[in-house]
């Protein structure tokens, strides 16, 4: 059924975007987290999207193929009074850039809204098709 697969396509995109939004939330929540005793702070994560075929070759959905950790160096902040400060007075924090994450969040939410609108339109069209000839 041609039009019904729009729900599968947009549904896959919605689930992928919501996973991206989840990762952004996790990054933002841990933006100021300091490193534990092992010196390893929180590393920002990014989702990797991948096209996945759905039914015929013309329709393709999207899925999250991997969640990768960022390799950027952890942020060091000079704060000698902090309980986790090292000998030189530096505290190791996560490598998350909050500005980048906010941009990522807006992009994810706009894409999510786009796909919801696609589904709504497809639903309206299908309902009108059902009423054909009445």
């Amino acid at each position: 059924m041609s039009m019904f697969s729009i729900f599968n396509i947009s549904g896959s995109a919605i689930s992928a975007q919501s996973q991206r939004l989840n990762v952004v939330a996790s990054n933002l929540a841990n933006a100021d987290a300091v490193a534990g005793p092992d010196g390893q702070g929180y590393k920002g994560r990014q989702v990797v999207f991948e096209t996945t075929p759905m039914g015929s070759d013309a329709s393709s959905g999207v899925r999250v193929s991997a969640i990768k950790e960022s390799n950027e160096p952890l942020r060091k902040v000079h704060n000698p009074s902090h309980p986790s400060a090292d000998a030189d007075g530096y505290v190791t924090q996560s490598n998350v850039n909050p500005v980048e994450e906010m941009v990522n969040m807006i992009s994810a939410s706009r894409s999510y809204q786009n796909n919801v609108e696609v589904m709504n339109t497809a639903k309206t069209l299908l309902l009108k098709t059902l009423q054909m000839g009445q």
Partner: protein
């Protein structure tokens, strides 16, 4: 006799199937707006409709999506190239090549979806889908009132 009455409906139903097909393609493009390396695809409606109706619709002018750039109907710029197989359009059984949308603003990740254009196409296509539906409804109402003779 009855074939005369329903031939118009037959034409509109083919158009409706093609519109649904294009709607699905655009939905795929919008779903993959953030996927690296995804190439946006689109349907040349006129060509597909020509194929579906057996060429009886136009006055012999068939414009392929890439013919403007000096390539032939298969999208090839050289006779030695291998022709694209192209997707077949659903239940109509006629093969119609799907075109690749031209990139308006190239992006670094190789994604060629122009979200503004796709959204505009989506709305445009859904309005045309509804128009086709109304044509079908109107024609079926006409046939019904002819049958009933009231």
């Amino acid at each position: 006799m009855f074939a005369n009455m329903t031939s118009g409906l037959d034409f509109q139903s083919k158009a409706l199937v093609l519109r649904a097909e294009r709607q699905r393609l655009i939905a795929s493009n919008i779903a993959n707006a953030d996927t690296p390396g995804y190439v946006a695809r689109d349907l040349n409606f006129k060509e597909a409709m020509n194929n579906a109706t057996g060429g009886g619709l136009s006055n012999g002018l068939s414009l392929s999506p890439s013919s403007a750039q000096g390539s032939d109907s298969n999208g090839m710029t050289n006779a030695k190239h291998i022709a694209l197989s192209g997707g077949t359009i659903g239940t109509l059984g006629s093969s119609s090549s799907l075109a690749y949308a031209e990139q308006s603003q190239p992006s670094l990740d190789g994604n060629s979806v122009d979200l503004d254009r796709e959204r505009a196409n989506f709305v445009d296509n859904s309005v045309r889908y509804e128009a086709t539906l109304r044509f079908i409804n109107g024609q079926s109402k006409t046939i019904l009132s002819a049958i009933q003779g009231q």
